[in-house]
C-alpha cells in the first residue's frame, strides 16, 4: 500500500486538464447566472455599453446609406452635349446610337431644336424674344442636344465627348459636383471625429464596467489569491462576464439601430423623393449582425482581460 503522502500526490495530479475545462464551463455558466440574477443591474450596464456600440454602428450605417444615396443621385444626373448647328436630326440620332455602345454611357436621349424651343418658351423673359425671332428662324438657330447619363465619373466622359467632331461643347454641373465633394469631405471629417470619440467611449465603458465589477469583488479575489489560485483561474469569470456583457450589449445595440432605422425611414423617404429618387434605408444583413454580436463579445472579453490583468498585476502580493 502506498504511503498517504504518495496517494495524495497521484490523486492531486489526476484530471487537471478536465478540471481546467470544467472550470471554463463553470465560469461561462456562473457568470451568466450572476448576470441574470440581477437583471436590472445587468440591463443598466449592458445598456450603457449598447449605446457606446450603437452610436458608431449607427454612424457607419448612416455614412453607408449616404454614399448609396449619393451614388443614386449622382447617377440620375445627365451631361448635355451641344451638337454643331450643321448636324441634322438623322445624324444626331446616329451619333446617339453610337454613343449608347460606350461602356461609360448608361443612356442617351436626343433633344431636337423643336423641343429646345418649347422649353425656352417656358421662360417668361425669353418667351417674347422667341416670338419676336419667329419659330422657323429660331429652330434653325438652335442646335440639337444629346442628354447622356454617364455610367461612372462624369469628367472623363465629358472630355471624350468634346473630342468628337459633331459636338460643339459638353456641359455638366461642375458646381454640383464640387458641392458634393465638399459635403463628402466634411462628412468624412465629422465621421472621423465622432468615430474617434465613440470608439474611445466603447473602450472606456467596457473597461470601466469590468473595473468597477472587479472593485466590488476585490475581497473574493483576495481570498482566491491567498488560496493559491492562478491568475487565469481568478480572471476567467471576469472574462466570461465581459463577453456576456458584450453579447447582451450587442443585441441591445442591434435593437436600438432597428428602432432608429424605423424612426428615420419615413422622413428619409420624403427627402429622397424630393430628388426624384426612391430610396430605402438599408440596415445590417444577418451576417453583419452576427459579426456585430461576435465583435461585441470579443470587445467585452478584451476589455475584461485588460482591466482584470492590470488589477491582478497591481495586487499581486509582494510584487509592487
Amino acid at each position: 500500500m502506498p504511503s498517504p503522502a504518495a496517494r495524495r500526490v497521484t490523486k492531486v495530479h489526476h484530471g487537471r486538464l478536465a478540471a481546467w475545462l470544467a472550470h471554463h464551463g463553470r465560469s461561462l455558466g456562473t457568470s451568466l447566472g450572476r448576470l441574470l440574477g440581477r437583471p436590472w443591474a445587468t440591463l443598466l450596464t449592458a445598456g450603457v455599453m449598447a449605446l457606446a456600440l450603437a452610436l458608431p454602428l449607427g454612424l457607419w450605417l448612416g455614412v453607408h446609406n449616404a454614399q448609396r444615396l449619393g451614388a443614386q443621385v449622382q447617377a440620375s444626373r445627365a451631361l448635355t452635349a451641344f451638337l454643331k448647328l450643321d448636324v441634322d436630326a438623322a445624324q444626331a440620332q446616329a451619333l446617339a446610337q453610337t454613343l449608347r455602345q460606350r461602356p461609360d454611357v448608361a443612356a442617351v436621349a436626343v433633344i431636337t431644336p423643336e423641343q429646345s424651343l418649347e422649353q425656352l418658351r417656358q421662360r417668361p423673359d425669353l418667351a417674347q424674344a422667341i416670338d419676336a425671332l419667329g419659330p422657323e428662324q429660331a429652330r434653325a438657330a438652335l442646335p440639337s442636344l444629346l442628354e447622356l447619363t454617364p455610367r461612372g465619373a462624369e469628367a472623363p466622359l465629358a472630355q471624350a465627348l468634346s473630342a468628337l467632331p459633331q459636338i460643339e461643347r459638353v456641359q455638366y454641373d461642375a458646381l454640383w459636383q464640387q458641392r458634393l465633394q465638399a459635403w463628402l469631405a466634411f462628412g468624412t471629417r465629422s465621421v472621423a471625429v465622432l468615430a474617434a470619440l465613440l470608439g474611445l467611449g466603447a473602450l472606456l465603458v467596457v473597461g470601466n464596467t469590468v473595473r468597477l465589477d472587479i472593485q466590488s469583488r476585490r475581497e473574493e479575489i483576495g481570498v482566491l489569491q491567498l488560496l493559491g489560485a492562478s491568475d487565469g483561474f481568478v480572471q476567467r469569470p471576469f472574462l466570461y462576464l465581459g463577453a456576456w456583457y458584450g453579447l447582451i450589449a450587442g443585441a441591445i445595440a442591434l435593437g436600438l439601430l432597428t428602432l432608429a432605422g424605423l424612426a428615420l425611414a419615413q422622413p428619409l423617404a420624403e427627402l429622397a423623393a424630393r430628388y426624384g429618387s426612391r430610396f430605402a434605408l438599408r440596415g445590417l444583413d444577418p451576417l453583419q449582425a452576427g459579426a456585430v454580436l461576435a465583435g461585441a463579445a470579443v470587445l467585452g472579453w478584451t476589455g475584461a482581460a485588460l482591466v482584470s490583468g492590470h488589477y491582478l498585476r497591481q495586487t499581486r502580493p509582494l510584487e509592487h
Partner: protein, 229 residues
C-alpha cells in the same frame, strides 16, 4: 529534513513598526508546534511570511529547503497551494456555499468532482458541520464560520498547515475537538503550526511551543519541558 526554517527573520512594517526581530527556528516534517504570545506579539506576521502574504525585511524563510525569497510571480500561487491556512478572520467567499468554500483548494489542485464531493462531506462531518453544506457563510454563527475555514485548510492534506487563532470563536469543548483533529494530521504527512493565545489549551496539548514577545522569539519549549514552563 526540516519542512520549515526561519533564519534570523525580521519584519518591519512601514511605520516603522518592528513586528518580528531576528526569529530563528526549524520545524521537522510531521511535527506539530504552537506559536503563542501577547496580542501584537507578531504571531500572525510570522505565519504570513510562510504563505507569502508578506516578505521578511531581513533573514530567510525556507520551505522544504527552498528559500521563499526566490518564489515570485506565478510560483507564489503554486507555493500557496502546498500550504493549508486557517485565517484569523476566516476569509470565506460570502457568495458560495459552505461546501464550495471547502472544496476550493481541491478545485485549485484540479481534483475530480466526485472525489471532491466525498472529501468535502467527510471533513465537514469531522468539524461538526454535517448537513450545513449548502448554507452560505453569512448564515452561520462565527464559530461555524471558523470551522469552515479549518475544514478548508485541511481538506487537501497539504504538506504544511498553518492556523491563526483557529479556536478564537469556539467554546472549550469544540476547541479540544479541533485540536485533536490537528494533532492527527502529522500521521497523514501534514506538519502543523498553530498560533494561539489560549495558553491553557496550548499547555494541555503537550506539543512544542514557540513563545513570541514583542516580535522576539523569547522561548522555544519542547513538549517534555512543558510542565516546567
Amino acid at each position: 529534513m526540516p519542512v520549515l526554517q526561519f533564519d534570523s527573520v525580521s519584519k518591519v512594517y512601514p511605520g516603522p513598526r518592528k513586528a518580528l526581530e531576528a526569529v530563528s527556528f526549524a520545524m521537522d516534517a510531521g511535527e506539530m508546534a504552537f506559536v503563542t504570545g501577547h496580542s501584537g506579539a507578531g504571531k500572525s506576521t510570522l505565519l504570513r511570511l510562510i504563505h507569502l502574504a508578506e516578505r521578511p525585511s531581513r533573514g530567510a524563510v525556507l520551505f522544504n529547503d527552498r528559500n521563499l525569497a526566490g518564489v515570485r510571480g506565478g510560483a507564489i500561487a503554486r507555493h500557496r497551494r502546498e500550504i493549508g491556512v486557517v485565517f484569523q478572520n476566516h476569509q470565506l467567499l460570502a457568495d458560495r456555499s459552505v461546501a464550495d468554500n471547502v472544496a476550493l483548494p481541491l478545485v485549485l489542485r484540479g481534483m475530480k468532482r466526485a472525489e471532491i464531493g466525498k472529501r468535502v462531506r467527510s471533513i465537514l462531518e469531522r468539524v461538526g458541520l454535517g448537513g450545513r453544506e449548502r448554507a452560505l457563510p453569512g448564515q452561520l454563527s462565527a464559530g461555524e464560520q471558523q470551522r469552515v475555514g479549518i475544514a478548508r485548510a485541511v481538506v487537501a492534506e497539504p504538506a504544511l498547515m498553518i492556523a491563526d487563532e483557529p479556536t478564537g470563536n469556539l467554546d472549550p469543548g469544540l476547541s479540544a475537538e479541533i485540536m485533536a483533529l490537528f494533532a492527527a494530521l502529522p500521521e497523514r504527512g501534514t506538519s502543523v503550526l498553530v498560533a494561539s493565545h489560549d495558553i491553557a489549551l496550548v499547555k494541555r496539548m503537550k506539543k512544542r511551543v514557540l513563545v513570541l514577545a514583542n516580535g522576539s522569539l523569547e522561548d522555544d519549549i519542547a513538549p517534555e519541558d512543558l510542565a516546567d514552563a
